[in-house]
Symmetry: C2
Subunit: 211 residues, 2 copies
């Protein structure tokens, strides 16, 4: 498999952590795409992924998966152990539910703030090939949403070891990436968020978090 | 199972179609939540789903799935036949990839337009409990994104029977709901989009599309 990655960007980190948890990271051919150099906008990369985003996982049969979600699901089906999406049907539903929530309420909020406020992203206020202008009010709204996300995260974790219960899952992966991504806009877990901080310590000390 | 539904809203239609395709719609207890009457904002419903959205699927053990994505994944794991997420690992990856794309580029674009422009949604520009004000520029951007989505849909379908290939999947379900939802903002598949129109005819004539 070929893995189009960017070592400094949050989205591909989700796939990288999942690959590491599955014990696959050393088996894939990693291709670094420098977002700083705007390599994802090049014609060469557009031929790989017309949406101009990383991560991309290219399977040995040439199939390309162009989203973190697609990559998670392929990996789970092709390499079931260790499971990252729960074992029972109910667990699978809960994990998918929570992972979706982390992306929607968390990842998109931080991204919305960054993309609509950072000068270097003028004219690129959404991911992908279309040149949307920044909307400063949306940047503010993204910040407010991200702030609420981190404030509510403690209650979402509660006294469970992991987000979905007593097992680690892709919901924890996405949540970890969101919490670290939020630091880019200077939003952090509250000091008194004991459950969230205990969870953060546990997931960020796994070897996969450092890859 | 209990299924909290709203017969006029696009999101729960995704789950409703999936339940119908699995042959389960007549086996669940359906509870209609009138979004027109703002029943989803009531304390009674907040106790079911603090995010104040439908659909919700409540399993017999009390577990509640609060998103279309969570519901899709539970149904597929608990009731594998007929498969709606592909059979091979590569198919599962591709389906998850496309379904995510339909939601992100399609559903969210139409929703963004509606919620930020329709007078009745003032102060409720995002789903959920938080009272965000409308951003008219975001409404316009949502419209532009939705327009691009329908224009590109023909190429995405191509000459395949269904979005992911020769089998029907949750990507088709979400895409059908998006295309119909886009009519609310007067955006339609282009007249000359032959592949998209052939696909639309096929998926919207399935019995599940009418439930």
């Amino acid at each position: 498999m070929k893995f189009y990655d960017c070592s400094t960007a949050p989205s591909p980190r989700r796939a990288r952590i999942a690959l590491a948890e599955k014990g696959l990271l050393d088996t894939v051919e990693r291709i670094e795409v420098s977002l700083r150099e705007k390599e994802q906008m090049s014609p060469a990369f557009a031929a790989i992924n017309p949406y101009l985003t990383v991560p991309v996982l290219e399977l040995d049969d040439g199939t390309r998966l162009l989203s973190s979600t697609g990559i998670y699901h392929y990996l789970e089906a092709a390499f079931p152990e260790p499971p990252l999406m729960g074992r029972t049907a109910a667990e699978r539903g809960v994990v998918a539910d929570l992972e979706w929530r982390m992306e929607w309420d968390g990842f998109s909020a931080v991204g919305e703030c960054l993309r609509n406020t950072v000068q270097g992203m003028a004219g690129r206020a959404t991911t992908g090939p279309d040149p949307y202008e920044q909307i400063p009010e949306l940047g503010e709204r993204g910040r407010a949403r991200a702030q609420r996300f981190v404030e509510r995260f403690d209650a979402l974790v509660g006294d469970k070891p992991f987000l979905a219960g007593d097992f680690y899952s892709i919901a924890d992966i996405t949540a970890l990436v969101v919490i670290d991504f939020a630091k880019w806009i200077k939003i952090k877990l509250p000091e008194d968020a004991a459950n969230a901080r205990r969870w953060y310590e546990a997931v960020s000390s796994r070897p996969s978090a450092a890859v």
